[in-house]
């Protein structure tokens, strides 16, 4: 196969998936947040929470639109660039993708209409139900795509047989496929990463309002829920992260060795906190706890762990990038736990709004989960190389044979420039929305149908109440 075409197809998939992966996590995280906020509004009937819900619904809509548009690219790309992969896995992978369409996307897009446009069209209970359904749809979509992706890491419930056009994988046990050895670990890790993305976006924008002393009632309400959400998600991520890494060590020892930079075929594995891989001399220099990895896996500082040299060179992934992405993700995760816990204590003791430096850190913390998610995904996918489906199909045997490098360069340039425009526009609009702030009228319920006099009286009353 043409190595250049493979590399280009990988770069294109990396860029389009990486860009896509900025948005659905925000939809998933904000989805949960909206369910909580609207739930509080329904219980307390306090118009402030209605205002909070409507503001974040608008931010949600922005992330959702780009998520849908860029997701379509992903679905097509399996066929356009990875035809041989599609022929090999269609029986297995296609099923998960189709289930995603039927169970997740329809649910999400259908009820989104009510979430966005239904405030005055349907009753509050049906509206709340729609919010829950949109949130559920966003989560379901992660379920099916992560199940499909996990199957590529730890295939199960299949056999490889002669198909109509060469060998291919076919389902033998659907539930074994769905609950393949890595799917639940990876699913929980991805979902909670998405919650963190949503939580820190809320915290970031709220912190900015508090710094600028604008929309303070709104910002305090958002910050309160956002911080609790951020602490819970960051701590949970430690649990799912640990489960994931134990799973990787068990099921994909080569990837695990690359993540830890562990070369010897079988020896005690050290735990490097920060380091640099010397691929030539097959060593890692940096801050290390001797035997730390052995201890974390087997509660024994001297337990041998299989390393990269246990497999031939052509079955090893690129070590440096896998190692750095993995360590970067962990560093970010730990930093976010510390930050969210510290900020929550500050808020609890009433000092947060006076600690301007901390508010500034929170403003920029929105980048943390995004970088963490991207790095984690890079470590997972690059660490699986040279395989596209672990142990079954190599990446270089998976591309479309009839698509030329020139065609891929063309589409690569096209998608990259379109995505740059989209990203700039997204930031511009998000900024615009933040500067504009929550709409004071959003605090009011569906009053439009009441006679003008009553509307005036009510809004006058509420304005007084707020002041």
């Amino acid at each position: 196969m043409d190595d250049l075409a493979t590399m280009l197809a990988r770069v294109q998939f990396g860029i389009t998936a990486g860009f896509h992966y900025l948005y659905p996590p925000l939809s998933i995280g904000l989805g949960i947040f909206l369910v909580v906020i609207e739930g509080i509004y329904l219980r307390t009937k306090d118009p402030l929470w209605r205002q909070v819900a409507r503001f974040w619904t608008k931010v949600f809509a922005l992330t959702f639109a780009i998520g849908v548009a860029t997701g379509l690219v992903m679905e097509f790309e399996f066929g356009t660039n990875w035809a041989k992969y599609s022929r090999f896995v269609g029986d297995v992978f296609g099923s998960a993708l189709a289930a995603e369409g039927i169970f997740a996307f329809f649910l999400e897009s259908g009820f989104l209409a009510l979430l966005l446009f239904g405030w005055d069209k349907v009753g509050p209970k049906l509206h709340y139900f729609s919010t829950i359904m949109v949130c559920a749809g966003a989560h379901f979509s992660a379920v099916w795509i992560v199940v499909a992706n996990s199957w590529m890491h730890t295939p199960a419930g299949y056999h490889v047989v002669q198909g109509p056009n060469g060998l291919r994988a076919e389902i033998t046990d659907f539930w074994a496929l769905v609950f393949n050895p890595s799917s639940m670990d990876r699913l929980s890790h991805v979902l909670i990463g998405a919650w963190m993305a949503g939580a820190f976006l809320v915290v970031s924008i709220s912190a900015w309002y508090l710094l600028k002393q604008r929309h303070q009632a709104f910002a305090r309400a958002s910050m309160k829920v956002g911080l609790v959400f951020a602490v819970v998600a960051s701590l949970l991520q430690l649990v799912t992260g640990h489960a994931s890494v134990v799973g990787v060590a068990q099921n994909q020892p080569v990837k695990f060795a690359a993540m830890e930079g562990h070369f010897p075929a079988s020896a005690r594995a050290d735990l490097t906190l920060v380091g640099w891989v010397d691929e030539l001399h097959q060593s890692v220099s940096g801050l290390t706890i001797p035997g730390g990895t052995s201890f974390l896996l087997k509660q024994d500082f001297t337990a041998p762990v299989p390393g990269l040299l246990a497999v031939p060179a052509n079955e090893r992934p690129p070590v440096q990038i896998t190692f750095q992405a993995y360590h970067g993700m962990i560093a970010i995760g730990v930093a976010l736990i510390a930050l969210s816990v510290f900020a929550a204590i500050s808020w609890w003791t009433g000092r947060l709004e006076r600690q301007r430096w901390l508010l500034w850190v929170l403003v920029f913390a929105v980048l943390g989960p995004q970088f963490g998610n991207q790095l984690g995904w890079l470590a997972a996918e690059i660490g699986r190389q040279p395989w596209i489906v672990q142990g079954l199909l190599k990446t270089r045997d998976a591309i479309s044979p009839n698509v030329s490098s020139g065609q891929i360069i063309m589409s690569l340039i096209l998608f990259t420039s379109v995505y740059l425009v989209l990203f700039a526009t997204f930031l511009y609009l998000l900024n615009d929305k933040i500067v504009h702030g929550p709409d004071p009228e959003d605090a009011h319920g569906p009053l439009a149908k009441l006679p003008q006099k009553i509307t005036d009286a009510l809004s006058g009353h509420r304005a007084d109440g707020e002041a």
Binding site: A65, L72, A83, G94, F117, P164, S400, L429
Partner: protein, 338 residues
Amino acid sequence: MDLNTIWFILVAVLLAGYAILDGFDLGVGILHLFIRGDDERRLCINAIGPVWDGNVVWLVTGGGALFAAFPEVYASAFSGFYTALTLLLVTMIFRAVAIEFRSKRPSHAWRHGWDIAFSVGSFGAALLLGVAFGNVAAGLPMDAEFNITAGLLGLLNPYALLVGITTVVLFAMHGAIYLVLKTEGELQARIRTWVKPLIFAFIACYVLTTGATLLWQPHLAANMKAQPLWFAVPILTVLAVANIPREIHHGREFLGFLSSSAAIGLLVTLVGVGLYPNLLLSNPQPEHSLTIFNSASSPKTLKIMLIIAAIGIPLVLTYTAGIYWIFRGKVKLDKASY
């Protein structure tokens, strides 16, 4: 009926559902630049506002179902239409975000720019979908490993372009009827004057395409000749098309809209009947064709997928219908509008 045929029908239903539903919002997009006035343009966008992304999901799910049920077809068609699909994706991205972004800023230049993106994107998407559909109907050169060997220029042949243009006109007509249903007053009166010329333009395209098909694509009539009962499909198509101007003339736009929906569904059915059991017809070497048998997933997978569809599709239809019902009636601008 065997599982492969059931899945052939289900994929066709998903594609027909997509053409009917996204057809009208693509049509609204095609007509967008002809609408004058900012409020009027916003009304038209909001007429499709709550439903357009649900409509796109029919394509996403259709693609997923094709991948799952007939992976060989998914792989061959998507890699074979590489450049065309890249362009289709770019048009669809622009129109999707244009709907979301357009009214977010008051600036005239901002809105005009996104108006162009929305309209050109919708036009391009309809044209490319039509061209792809025309090529599938006509058949494509394929090699022994089922790779499509035609380049972009090979796909832009006169027959496929004719189907592409017919699709654009059909969607524009469908969208105009939808807008008449959803708008009122002066705007409605103006759009109403477009409906008849669009219907006649579509009928002209339809006659041309039918003639070209009979002349150049006789294989599409073979199944009907073998089983004359299938002639009901083209006859119903003609009746549905002919019924559109009649309903519009009597001011029954909803029935007119149902008729144009039926016409779109029947046109997809017509091609389905013509192709069966082929999915990707190899032309000129028919032995390299992908059929519902040599391209399908295993019977076990088809069965699992059928269970998933049996659970999912009734749910989808129920709440989709509910949402269309809630957003029925004339569109009005409010604070939540685009």
